[in-house]
Symmetry: C2
Subunit: 430 residues, 2 copies
């Protein structure tokens, strides 16, 4: 019997604010960061790696929250934990004193997500397959067992979820082979950070088209005149067929969002992302109705499956943007994939940051192979930052993510990067 | 000029689980706890005290989140901070890297609440008045300046808020005098904890009636047969006129809530509290519609003003249960009082725990004097636990909270209690 012996945690920060990479209307100067955890065992097999993506100050608090999970896991039987990840998830999420600190939202929920993802990384490495493949090979019954349907059953219960997954069972092998052969569609946010000047925006937009992307994204919401000018530059370079999404990063109130988007509508934005508070289901619904045919996208800051349920019930979002580290890990994201499939809404994962591309690609690929069965109008965000720190960096070629081949969840950071970027004592910060 | 010199923090825990005080359907054995902060200055005047109420494990993480606010406040000019608490609130809540960890929810948002409340305690002590009086003496314009209307303006903007407050201006002095003379109505949850046996329930119910309460509350949601039996015992003792609220502490899904409440409806429950996830606005709305005329109450775990806005928009709750330490302090609770006043929904604060009665009474009293202008169908929760640890404990007499007279926000814990209950090294835990 193998036991979990340690949760080793790290406060990792990358000095991205020096170049204004990642700058948007709400986050002018982020230092992309990770509250990182390694789940260690007493056998000679692999460790499990996971993290929460953060943007600088406060990463130490996120690390402290992961530390608080140590007593729930150290000493546990690895095989038992990993063989029943549905129960493992419930045990962590429903722990009464820790749940009080959310409930099911914010720092403690994300900490659980990091540990859950680390356990999935461990499980996939032990199985010798990439996570997307491990999950795609589970039976519909096994997938349903991974999901906690508490607070969802008015919209989706286990029986209906099973039915959805069974309906997607034919063609799994073909879709997996298609993924391996052709990859999964991507779009890029690299050109569009708010802190970049017009020349850099134009140059990076051209580079994105040359690299084969058929969708890009621009940050908006700082200044309307700037947005009109920048969107005009991008549209002229892109022509009418390349999709341009815009992202306000929660900058607006409802009426302001409607007014602003209508000013930008002549540039044919594919979606407007995070027009207002991620908690405002009814606000998103009002915006979506009033700005149609421009579509709303949201999700990267949506706290949990209960809020996603409502966004779908209220037709408040036309794209579901899951994030690998905002909710409580793989299991909760499976719940969200199922909800989106029920409503026929495309899942277009949020990525970028530190390792979000590496982590979330697995979920989009499971969605394609085993849940929605489609890549239509589905794209994974791609930003070309910080991949060099990962043991299995994403490979984006000709505007598509190639399917990962190495065992694991993609969440492992290289040891030299762990050492150099540790805050405040790594060499980058000394 | 006075400066803030320190934020001293404490992990305080009270061994309430030994008696099953506070036991409910979701929290079987809480140790009531507080992540406590003292804001110190370099002048000879008072310190400011604040806290987040927690229930045991993880309080250390909540303390770490308060610690993370230290760099934003130490060295700041006390007069400037306190004279413009609206700007102070925005500066804390909109700090980009810390906001990422919510946004505006969970551990980081509650940490900001503790510090905001400590600054209000400081302000009230410097002014030499209790907090309810300090706030009730502000002009409508000054009150509006305390509120951040971001994400609210589709429902309530500053002009309409001002109008509401101006409409409540006549009669302020009479209502304040009424508070001093007669106090504010209370109800008690003391009889109804799920871990108490029938005899203890009956005895405590009788004692509540003898003490002058006209509303009590019972925890439900563990076992339906038990709930029927316990509610029957309580109703028989109370007779038809005393209100009995029931509280499910988020135990149910939507359909389950409706079924369960319909079984208990013959006992005429005054409200059903937290029937499901606090994030589920649409779920609460569905429940409220289907169980009418039984009313829904919620709020103690509602993360922020944006979710309260929607609960009111959707007619999802018939009582707004503000909590002193769940949202970002006094300022955000003022926003919520204004939203409730706009919709004409009574505010009935959640209390109990550690110090929640002491803190939240001030907000209910401001609501009466300066916002809603009414105590009709309004009651503050009361539980007779742990008041002895406070410098200015609540005084509940004949079923009513007497108006606090001492300067401050009621949030100060006595030094011997700080020392004895510090976890893990205080004498209670050694």
């Amino acid at each position: 019997m193998s036991q979990i012996t340690a949760l080793d945690t790290f406060d990792l920060r990358f000095p991205t604010s020096r170049m204004l990479d990642g700058s948007d209307a709400m986050n002018p100067d982020p230092d992309y960061s990770a509250a990182y955890v390694i789940v260690r065992t007493d056998d000679s097999g692999p460790d499990g790696h996971g993290f929460v993506f953060t943007i600088g100050r406060g990463t130490d608090v996120q690390v402290a929250a992961i530390d608080a999970l140590r007593p729930l896991l150290v000493g546990a039987d690895v095989d038992a934990l990993v063989a029943d990840m549905g129960s493992t998830w419930r045990r962590l999420v429903h722990d009464s004193p820790l749940r009080w600190l959310g409930p099911e939202k914010g720092i403690m929920h994300m900490a659980i997500g990091a540990v859950v993802n680390a356990l999935w990384d461990l499980a996939a490495k032990r199985a010798g397959v990439p996570l997307w493949r491990l999950l795609s090979d589970l039976s519909p019954e096994q997938l349903v067992d991974l999901v906690d349907f508490r607070y969802l059953t008015d919209v989706l219960d286990p029986a209906e979820a099973l039915h959805l997954l069974q309906a997607a069972e034919p063609g799994r092998a073909e879709r997996a082979a298609d993924l391996v052969a052709r990859g999964y569609p991507a779009y890029t946010t690299t050109p569009g950070w708010l802190g970049y000047d017009d020349a850099k925006l134009a140059r990076l937009t051209r580079e994105a088209l040359d690299a084969g992307f058929t969708q890009i994204k621009l940050k908006v919401g700082g200044d309307l005149d700037d947005d009109v000018r920048r969107l005009g530059i991008a549209r002229e370079i892109c022509g009418p067929d390349v999709r341009i999404a815009i992202d306000a990063n929660q900058r607006w109130d409802v009426d302001e969002a409607v007014r602003w988007v209508k000013e930008l509508a002549p540039f044919d934005p594919w979606w407007v992302e995070e027009p207002t508070s991620p908690d405002d289901v009814l606000g998103h619904a009002a915006i979506a109705e009033r700005i149609a045919p421009v579509r709303v996208a949201t999700g990267e800051h949506v706290a949990n499956r209960v809020v996603f349920k409502q966004l779908l019930q209220a037709r408040a979002t036309q794209f579901v943007q899951i994030d690998a580290t905002r909710v409580a890990g793989v299991n909760e994201n499976l719940a969200i994939l199922l909800l989106a499939a029920k409503f026929g809404v495309p899942v277009c994962p949020h990525a970028g940051g530190v390792g979000l591309c590496e982590a979330v690609q697995h979920l989009a690929m499971v969605d394609y192979v085993a849940v929605s069965g489609s890549t239509e109008n589905r794209v994974i965000e791609y930003v070309d930052h910080l991949h060099e720190h990962f043991a299995d960096p994403v490979r984006v070629e000709n505007g598509r993510y190639r399917a990962p081949e190495r065992p694991g969840a993609g969440t492992e950071i290289l040891v030299p990067s762990l050492v150099a970027h540790r805050f405040p004592d790594g060499e980058v910060w000394r």
